[in-house]
Symmetry: D3
Subunit: 227 residues, 6 copies
């Protein structure tokens, strides 16, 4: 159940018996051969699936994230860190004002972690607010799954190559991660990473991807219990 | 053609022969009986239709706008004016850096006009950048059409009630606009506007809506010529 | 009655029986052959006249507005949109803290409309605050008057050519508006508009100007009733 | 010669042979029995007099300054320090862009000194920009004059009681300064200072005031030589 | 070699043959029984040791970090995320302007990772700038060492209990980490963590701590090669 | 007693019977032949001495200040004025939240005076907060002492040449201050001031320096009484 499919009366009725919300933070940034909106599509898919099971409402995603390292890759749209802080504060304050109290942020993009301290600042200032944060690719569940299948989790690799994020053929085989040290700027990132995939297999089997999705979904459902 | 259906290599190829982009600014705010995302859905529909005819790329929409007056209506998510300024600056600078030079902003929401001066500031600072702005509901085309059909254009009324923005039954008849003066805060807005529709018929015929869409699309195509 | 002619004890006495204030937002920007401070002089003249009739206090004007498009015209001083937001917030909060509750903002300059959403944010946050906004040249009254006299309202044209804004001879005749599309930057604006007048007659008769002033004054008096 | 009496063509002609500008920073704040705009009126009077002698152009004053300590005195309008920084940056950048290179800031208010470091930042970033700053009441000239007449310089006392800043009768005699330590907030300031005058004689003779004005004017003329 | 032991001539001489700098970001926040400045003391100790071996200059540390979750623990001083972004930008730009080109940031505190995207933004904008970042407690070296000694790395536990960070007796034994989910605010953090230690042994042997220090120092030396 | 030598339990115990804190604002900037951290070292020495006599706690110093005029001198690290405002606000709010109510700011650097109005804003907004500010080199005590010894107080001269700030031999004799007018940018400052000392004797006798320290310490102790 997405906000876009409801009008305000529907949301008001919802708030009479429920105070949870799923908010997706994403990015519009290079993902190798995959969709530039991969970091929105994955958490939105999880959000929709979790919503189907629980009835928790899903807010419209923020389609842009903090991706300064990929600005040399065409189609990448990056917010400054300070901008993301402002957006997240405004969104949380808006829905808090209407009665939402338990908000699960499904984050699709690493650079957005810059907002972590802001979430605590908001929780300090807004009584009764409970926030949870889930970055699926960093979860213990995914780490375990990847190890079990002998796959390496990495940006734009197999692990993000869901049927719904693929927009082109993927190369066969695996990529050897480049070696570097220090903070790369956008030009150096492109030199180092070429096609934009960080490391590992370009593709995994459908069963692996299905399993991956499911373990993440379990995590989301668990977090949605806010216990 | 939306960025979400492409990868970065596709966009890079696109930029070899084209430098135009459509950017949608929307809002997540009460629209009476219509979808809370009406202000995204309408300009996105126009963007998709214009893209189909011209091949111009469509960026992911900004799903939140500046809607402080509707914060008492559940589901409304409002950015501060200063936040929107930051987001728009970051988005424009990102794509300018990759070679986009002619950007048509399809705005779906009145409160977002607060960014108008920023667009000039950006045009002052980024050589060769051409920006155009289209707020469909304020266009001469729509004014003419509404007059011809003896309909009154107003927030959340018939004029936004496209098949793709309707999420509930609409009441019959028309609404008499409340009378007020001065700046209303969110509580006063709700008292004044009740169901959130500002004025006029709740619904128009399919042919009117189709005509409405088409005159706006013509405007968009015209603006996309950047002449 | 202007604040500059009073000391704080006078204002404190005033606040014992009155809570209204007129605040003028202006601009220092090119107005063709007219004074660079035209956008301050007109609303201040209205403010003074309204104050004489009602006794409502007039705050010192903000002499700078948001005018990035005119920065190539010498003497134009432009604030960033974000700066104007900060100034208006500070001014309103200052006088609210002392007991002013009904504030009429007489705006003299189009670019300042960028603060509209901020006014709602302030009204949301400051209990009992009533704000009203008047942009005289956009009023129904002026539209009607211009139509009646077959004159076209436009920046720096006859409509701003009051005796008190004229600092030079005005050319005879009328100006044909240039045609353009999209957002002009400051250089393009100067190329398009040359002497800075947008369109229409350079001058109207004294009786028209007097009538113009009076219809605007009526509007101001009406708004000052805050009903 | 004030900008308000010119149009942009006049300023453009001026810039052909001259690159100096006088900018007045003031305040709208309690000044005891004197005008709330005393801190604008005094530097504007100096600016006008200096302009008459040198032909240097005078920009419109900023009518608001940083006065948080006086917010309990009705009619005081205070900008946050951060707001003033933004305004001054915008004003200086605007006129620098048009060719002004030597700008004398006549400051009328102590709290505005918060912008001092910003002036250096601007001078670091804008090649060829020369800024000068004059806070008349802190000048060596005024100190000497006050000592010679056995008068104590203090906020809102004789030293600001020019004919053009007086809006009420002044009490006879002198005020004993209250004793305090530490940073006073606005409530404590009012408790400590009562009528708002800080210390010393309420009034000096016309000849003293005339002499005071003249020594300050000499300073201004000296600074305008930018040597 | 610390900047505090040099004057500007010394640094100017240094810059003739060297362009590296070590910058310490710390925190003033609760560390259980350990010094409130633990997050400064540890990276400064590493910086001093690395400087002794390489001659690379050490800048004064930033003594405050982003620690909103610990604000209920007395003595914790927390910057907003946006503030830290500003400080780090200013520091890096200052030394870049003087010729420093390779800057190793030794970070002592997890909350400071919020600046990561800013570092890329700076590297995008400042040609020739190389930044490196080291958060010692997250390093592979420390992970390995902890595993080898069967110790669990955690905030304020044995791993930060160096002789130079201890300011009180440490309790015997180990702490069982509390279980929680979601974002804790400062009050919940205190309820959950009590004495402020997150988990694991309070203390390790001197030899372990010495080994810990040395593996981190090796990392730092390696990063200082900027290869 | 410095915060760095305590853990949070110690500070909590302290706050049971005491609510005072000393906060040092400094700078990392050229001081001629003296340490680049002179503006931290002097107020910290005063803070430690005052703490020893009174038991008042000393917070970690802010090692960076607002020094844009010295950015051409290697080793100078300057915060923008707006950044310093944010840092000081965050620090004061953090400790206020824990119960500190009387905070003496020992400022070591002239450029930091830009925060003065912010201190009043904080005192306006945080009930019961008492702030005091001491800039030792501007004190009446130091002025008197300098006059008595026929010494001229000036940046980086004898007056800052304490045994603990000297890091190199000092030249003999005295420096004639350069003459200049207007706001110097960083390049002009270096041209004008050469070695960075502003004026006067490079060195004074140990007894003078000891006396200087003591009169300042007396001031600090007096301010710490907050009476």
């Amino acid at each position: 159940m997405r906000i876009e499919d409801l009008n305000w009366m529907d949301v008001e009725a919802y708030l009479k018996h429920e105070d949870r919300l799923i908010l997706v933070l994403g990015a519009c940034e290079q993902h190798g051969y995959l969709s530039l909106l991969t970091d929105v599509k994955i958490p939105m898919a999880l959000a929709d699936a979790a919503s189907e099971r629980t009835g928790v409402l899903v807010a419209p995603p923020l389609n842009f994230g903090v991706s300064p390292y990929f600005l040399t890759y065409s189609g990448t749209i990056s917010l400054r860190a300070s901008t993301l802080l402002s957006v997240v504060e405004d969104v949380v304050r808006s829905v808090y004002g209407q009665g939402f109290r338990r908000i699960l942020i499904l984050n699709g993009h690493g650079g957005n972690a810059t907002v972590s301290p802001l979430l605590v600042e908001l929780a300090n200032n807004l009584p009764g607010l409970h926030l949870a944060w889930y970055a699926w690719w960093l979860s213990h569940s995914v780490e375990t799954l990847a190890a079990r299948h002998d796959l390496k989790p990495a940006h734009a690799s197999w692990m993000e190559a869901f049927p719904f994020t693929r927009v082109a053929e993927l190369p066969p085989g695996a990529k050897t991660p480049p070696s570097y040290r220090g903070v790369l700027n956008a030009e150096q990132t492109r030199q180092a990473y070429g096609d934009g995939v960080f490391a590992g297999d370009y593709l995994a089997g459908d069963d692996v991807m299905s399993e991956l999705f499911n373990v993440c979904l379990e995590d989301v459902l668990h977090l949605l219990s806010f216990e």
